[in-house]
């Protein structure tokens, strides 16, 4: 038997060239499935869940963090602090909550106020993450200003990003459109709801977020 077994050798290599721990923010516009994906990751690796999900936009209005989630990829692994952030939007209209989702005026106004605070909190978290899992809805047009702005911001900070093309269980999904829209970033088609292709996502997360990289502070 050699001096090092294969397992310990890969651990040493990882210690020299890669990270052992990374703080990963789950970002995206409202209602793309960020919390569903956070729940999927936690259920698969810790047996826990992150938070409640809803069809009403801005269900997550306060960022939630789960520390030290160990995600494995064969011989290597990465401990991640997973942060589920509120959806980023350029507008929040309480009337939409009333007219489309039937909330009372008071409830709608409270949700809208909390949603605006949530957007600010999400943007603030960008200062403190080591990488971003950007969730996009593969049934929707990918060229939204929020997607483009978040990606541009992450590129300016030199933060590693992985795009999760979510909702591929839907008939009208088109992950290929997302891939061609953002060819400079890895895009993994998934269904956070059914778990389809989540293994591929975890493998890419460990690779993408485990690399050592110097991020630019702003």
């Amino acid at each position: 038997m050699g001096l090092f077994s294969r397992g310990s050798f890969s651990t040493i290599i990882q210690k020299i060239f890669g990270k052992r721990h990374a703080r990963i923010g789950i970002y995206g516009p409202p209602n793309v499935g960020k919390t569903t994906l956070a729940n999927r990751i936690l259920r698969d690796w810790t047996g826990d869940i992150m938070g409640s999900v809803s069809d009403i936009p801005h269900e997550t209005r306060v960022a939630k963090c789960k520390k030290n989630v160990k995600v494995e990829n064969g011989k290597s692994s990465l401990f991640m602090d997973i942060i589920d952030t509120p959806g980023i939007a350029t507008k929040v209209d309480f009337k939409e909550f009333m007219n489309t989702y039937g909330l009372s005026r008071e409830e709608a106004k409270r949700r809208a106020k909390e949603a605006t605070e949530g957007v600010i909190e999400s943007i603030r978290w960008l200062e403190d993450v080591d990488g971003v899992l950007l969730v996009m809805d593969s049934t929707q047009d990918p060229f939204t200003q929020v997607n483009v702005t978040i990606l541009g911001n992450l590129e300016a900070r030199n933060l590693p990003v992985l795009i999760a093309a979510n909702k591929i269980d839907m008939d009208d999904s088109s992950p290929a459109t997302l891939k061609s829209a953002f060819p400079q970033h890895p895009v993994i088609p998934i269904s956070a709801l059914t778990g389809y292709n989540s293994e591929n996502l975890y493998t890419t997360m460990v690779k993408q977020f485990g690399r050592k990289r110097r991020k630019r502070r702003r």
Binding site: I88, K91, V92, I123, L126, D141, T144, V148, G152, A156
Partner: protein
Amino acid sequence: MTKKDKGISVNLISRHKLEELSSNEKLDFILKEVQSGKVLVLEQGLTSMEQTSLIEHTMREIEQDTFIGIEMEGYSEDRPTFLQKFLGKMKKPRMTVIGPADLLKTIRKDNNMIQTKIIPGKRS
């Protein structure tokens, strides 16, 4: 007594005017104009960092009955070539349209066209 003008202002802001302003001044200028009901077309748009700051500033300014936020669409920043990077040239923001979210709606956007609609309402 003069009759008050009706209609929605669409102002084209020159690259020169924007280059004269610091990032904070630019954001203050844009937000003030948009809050007053104007649609702006910026000859040279905002960087991604400035756009993120504009979203943050917008969220602070939302007044539920009068200002629900902004609609903003622009082309991706021009990517510098290897030679331009070598010479220290950075990404340049491109044309961007910004307006109040209750007035300006994006219909469609691709690499060659941004199609928007101004919806006249109580502001016009």
